[in-house]
């Protein structure tokens, strides 16, 4: 199974029309990867679908970087009893 990082990068790449290799952990979704507000909403939706989790919108949308998103999603998976590869 792919790791959380690989899966987050794959979803981000798909939504923002990038390749996973272009995405770094320290990248800001908006400033570096060019996500507009509508795409942020789509990212949250696609992360929920990918991991089978429910995220609080306010908390999820306040995450700024790819690295923080990986940490946040891993934590939510743990809270909601979803097994993931670290």
């Amino acid at each position: 199974m792919a790791t959380v990082e690989e899966r987050v990068k794959a979803v981000t790449a798909q939504v923002l029309k990038l390749t996973p290799d272009e995405i770094k952990l320290e990248d800001s979704f908006t400033a570096d990867l060019g996500a507009e507000s509508v795409q942020s909403i789509e990212l949250v939706a696609m992360f929920e679908e990918e991991f089978g989790i429910e995220m609080d919108e306010d908390a999820a949308l306040s995450v700024e970087t790819v690295g923080k998103a990986i940490e946040f999603i891993a934590e939510v998976c743990k809270e909601q009893g979803v097994d993931v590869e670290q």
């Binding site: 507000s37 509508v38 909403i41 789509e42 939706a45 696609m46 929920e48 919108e57 306010d58």
Partner: protein, 427 residues
């Protein structure tokens, strides 16, 4: 004699969604006034109390001075309990008389006249038990009183009601300011411009087909044409509006573009161009420029509406526009399909295509699908800001009511979000 307006059961109130999700039925408008005002006038009551759904009790209590969900008022004087779906104009039950409970064909209460003496036989601690025992212990009659069945009944009846209300009010003439040049077509007896109202130059008021009532402090800006019958509420502003026949515009609205046979509850903006016809719009709505609704299908067949997101109801009518709940915001260029339902608090970002006919409450409609968007917190922030701009307060009790509406409407929203996710995944 005390008049008690008792809101209809949930299954009936559902026929008046999306507006009735956040208002008791008697607050809905038809003609100049609300259904409640008409019932109170008809009965001639000066002692009124209300019973609303529990989730809106605190919020409604803050809006009105009369008792709300206060069981203590079930004791004392003779009383008349009325369900607000009863049409006031046909309500012919005498205020005084022996106790009787009027039921519709399904056995639902339409009214109950209860004498002071009979009150002692009924439990007064809870309205539900009070009504149940009144039905059991007091004489029942099968009532044929006409009722409002669906929200579009109000739209359909609006033009006729406007004319009736104008006659009932009995006012005509110009008490406000009318700047020249100006034109009034038809009889001046069919026009009333209230004190404080201001009609700018280059306005046409056409009362040939029906009366026009412009209420206090309303402002009619140049190049507006108002066709009667029409009611323009207090402090409303019309901005070069093509105001066709049969409109009721509630207080503090700002309306531009083209409007036909529609009801706007109050405090809503349709500032720019765009057509709205045979629509019912709630409070605190903002319709972006060029927001337009269809009210007639291309094949002239009857319009169906989904009030619950599951079941399409054939209205039997050829013209039905949009039903738009409180606090809805639409983007520029939003296109609403014939007989659309937009749940309260929904935020619409138009795509250039007609929207789905059912948009659930609190939906963020983005890129052609319903999403969770930025959540209800952001919608509350926007609502608070919109209300603040008109010196109105977003209160904790109001937020609690909306939290309840959010929970009540979650199943349909979640279903729409799932559908949206599937669409996103296949892009």
């Amino acid at each position: 004699m005390r008049l008690i307006l008792l809101d209809s059961p949930k299954e009936i109130r559902g026929n008046f969604y999306p507006i009735a999700l956040s208002h008791p039925l008697w607050e809905l408008r038809c003609g100049f006034t609300s259904l409640g005002e008409k019932l109170i006038d008809k009965v001639g009551a000066n002692d009124v109390a209300y019973f609303v759904a529990d989730y809106m009790a605190d919020s409604y209590r803050a809006k009105v001075q009369q008792p709300v969900n206060d069981s203590s008022i079930l004791d004392g004087d003779d009383m008349l309990v009325v369900d607000p779906r009863v049409k006031a104009e046909n309500f012919d039950v005498a205020a005084k008389g022996p106790s009787e409970v009027g039921l519709d064909e399904q056995g639902s209460l339409l009214y109950a006249r209860i004498t002071k003496d009979d009150l002692t036989r009924l439990p007064t601690d809870e309205i539900g038990r009070f009504i149940t025992e009144a039905k059991e212990k007091l004489p029942n009659v099968r009532s044929a009183l006409p009722t409002w069945r669906y929200i579009w009944d109000l739209i359909l009846a609006n033009a006729e009601q406007l004319t009736a209300d104008f006659t009932a009010v009995g006012q005509h003439g110009i008490e406000g300011t009318v700047e020249q040049p100006n034109a009034i077509r038809g009889s001046k007896k069919d026009v009333y411009i209230a004190p404080g109202a201001m009609v700018h130059p280059m306005v046409v008021i056409d009362a040939e087909q029906g009366p026009v009532y412009i209420d206090q402090d309303a402002e009619i800006q140049p190049f507006t044409r108002i066709e009667g019958p029409c009611y323009i509420g207090k402090k409303a502003i019309l901005l070069g509006t093509k105001c066709r026949e049969g409109n009721s515009i509630g207080p503090f609205c700002r309306v531009g573009g083209e409007l036909e046979e529609s009801i706007i509850q109050g405090y809503s903006n349709k500032y720019h161009d765009g057509f709205l016809g045979h629509a019912y719009v709630g409070e605190w709505v903002n319709l972006g420029a060029l927001t337009t609704n269809s009210d007639l299908k291309n094949d002239y067949s009857t319009v169906s509406v989904m009030l619950d997101g599951r079941r399409a109801i054939d209205t039997g009518l050829v013209k039905v526009g949009s039903l738009i709940g409180d606090h809805v915001k639409t983007s520029i260029g939003t296109l609403l399909n014939t007989g659309s339902y937009v749940g309260p608090m929904a935020l619409i970002m138009g795509t250039g295509k007609p929207l789905p006919k059912f948009i659930p409450a609190f939906a963020w409609f983005i890129e052609g699908v319903v999403t969770k968007g930025f959540g209800k917190g952001k919608l509350y922030e926007t609502a608070k800001m919109a209300m603040g701009r008109r010196d109105c307060q977003w209160t904790e009790t109001e937020q609690s009511m909306w939290d309840a509406v959010f929970d009540m409407t979650a199943p349909m929203r979640n279903q729409a979000i799932k559908k949206g996710r599937r669409a996103m995944l296949t892009r």
